[in-house]
């Protein structure tokens, strides 16, 4: 069954990346370290007034995850590019979708872990109270993370193979992620404040719609991006 082959191949790619990561921990450590540093620096920039910190917390959390994620996205293609394995993998029928799915899953695990750590630390450093609807918060974190990682993985497929990768990825990615950032930050802010306006649900729907549209679009686009 070609579907199952693809899925197996995607899982294999993700597993290979994650196992390599688990052994060397190079990327994971740098990403987490960067995220924590950003969190702390924002603490200095915005504090020490507790209310100011509490108001800024949702924004800082998502920005820290975003900047740290950019680091991860470009690196996720590094091994294949250096080893020249990319050209090989592309030749397999249905292989391209598997590559994208594999990279996507690997990046998702990495960024989701980072986000979890950032939230935990952010709650402490920025003196935030955890909401009663923490499950809703997890859902927002999930949908936001999917949005970040999908476009990040796609654009990194281009940026990581260009000569100006450090600049090109943020330049391409950040404007595209504006809806994710707005929705995720507002929903987080709303939930941390007890969702008095009941607007977290609306933001969640926007996030979900965005995710559906761009996961589909990215899979289609990846075919064209990786074949040249």
């Amino acid at each position: 069954m070609p579907w199952r082959d693809e899925w197996r191949r995607a899982r294999a790619i993700a597993w290979k990346d994650l196992t390599a990561e688990r052994r060397s921990k190079a990327v994971f450590n740098s990403v987490i370290a960067l995220a924590i540093t950003i969190l702390v620096l924002f603490g200095f920039a915005l504090g020490p007034d507790a209310q100011a910190l509490r108001d800024a917390a949702p924004g800082v959390i998502w920005l820290a995850a975003l900047f740290a994620g950019v680091l991860a996205f470009n690196r996720s293609y590094q091994t294949e590019i250096e080893g020249g394995a990319l050209d090989q993998l592309v030749l397999y029928p249905g292989g391209r979708r598997a590559i994208f799915a594999g990279k996507l899953m690997g990046n998702f695990v990495l960024v989701a872990s980072t986000l979890a750590i950032v939230v935990a630390l952010g709650v402490i450093l920025f003196q935030v109270d955890l909401p009663a609807q923490w499950l809703a918060l997890v859902a927002i974190l999930f949908f936001g993370c999917v949005g970040l990682v999908t476009l990040g993985t796609l654009y990194a497929a281009m940026a990581s193979r260009s000569r100006v990768r450090e600049v090109l990825l943020p330049l391409l990615l950040f404007p595209m992620l504006v809806p994710v950032l707005i929705a995720a930050i507002q929903a987080t802010k709303s939930l941390l404040g007890g969702d008095l306006m009941h607007d977290a649900g609306a933001w969640a729907r926007l996030l979900a719609a965005y995710d559906v549209i761009f996961v589909a679009a990215s899979f289609l686009a990846f075919d064209f991006v990786i074949e040249v």
């Binding site: 090109l168 707005i182 679009a217």
Partner: protein
């Protein structure tokens, strides 16, 4: 992977036709602006500032149309793999970026006397800024990628995804703004101003079409030059 390497630049007679169109477009623009300024009475609240609408609004409308062109021709390129389609998309993107920048500048020139500040995180202005950044990304891809096929396909992907995002960006920014009620920008146009606005909108449209065509011709000529120097190099190498 692209088909039909462009060997000949655009013919001279076609260029002359378009040059005449260019003169017409600019003349029409001058006339439209003159008419609009002459026939419109000062607004009750804004006074003469209302006249800025005649450049700001058409510029904004063109900035919406141009990415649509980028979208259509990017899709067309991925379907046809004809270089011409890629070059039209790229020309439209450059023109779009120009109009986006102009719209932002005019928005700020309007905002300053109206609300006393140069920038408000107004939904439309902010969405325009994000669109400008998306276009900047598109142009950056075209600038840094040297391989022609890679450049064309990557630009197409970036252009299509960017264009899809424009309405989503606008919606999310608008929701974001309505949560924090501040001034809304004038959205309804009083009937006294509609004629002037429509005239200027068409004028801007003609100018935009002329710009895209002109830029596309330049791109074709550039491509023909590349083709010629490549053949010359091949011949020289074989000798």
């Amino acid at each position: 992977m692209s088909t039909g390497a462009i060997a000949e630049p655009i013919s001279a007679t076609r260029t002359r036709g378009w040059t005449i169109f260019g003169w017409f477009a600019f003349a029409f623009l001058i006339a439209s602006q003159a008419i609009a300024i002459a026939i419109s009475p000062p607004d009750r609240d804004m006074g003469d500032l209302q006249k800025i609408m005649y450049v700001h609004v058409p510029s904004a409308w063109m900035t919406m149309l141009a990415p649509l062109t980028v979208l259509v021709f990017s899709l067309k390129y991925l379907w046809s793999r004809r270089e011409q389609d890629d070059l039209v998309a790229a020309s439209a993107a450059e023109v779009a970026a120009t109009f986006a920048g102009l719209t932002l500048a005019l928005g700020m020139i309007w905002a300053r006397p109206t609300w006393g500040i140069w920038w408000t995180w107004d939904a439309r202005l902010t969405s325009m800024l994000v669109l400008f950044l998306i276009l900047a990304g598109y142009l950056a891809v075209r600038a840094v990628v040297d391989d022609r096929d890679q450049r064309a396909q990557w630009s197409a992907a970036v252009g299509i995804l960017g264009a899809i995002n424009v309405p989503i960006v606008y919606m999310s920014v608008r929701w974001w703004r309505t949560l924090h009620q501040i001034q809304s920008s004038p959205s309804t146009v009083a009937p006294a101003y509609v004629i002037g606005l429509r005239l200027n909108a068409f004028a801007f449209l003609f100018v935009m079409i002329y710009f895209i065509r002109r830029r596309y011709d330049a791109a074709l000529t550039l491509r023909a030059a590349e083709h010629a120097s490549e053949s010359a190099a091949l011949k020289g190498g074989a000798a």
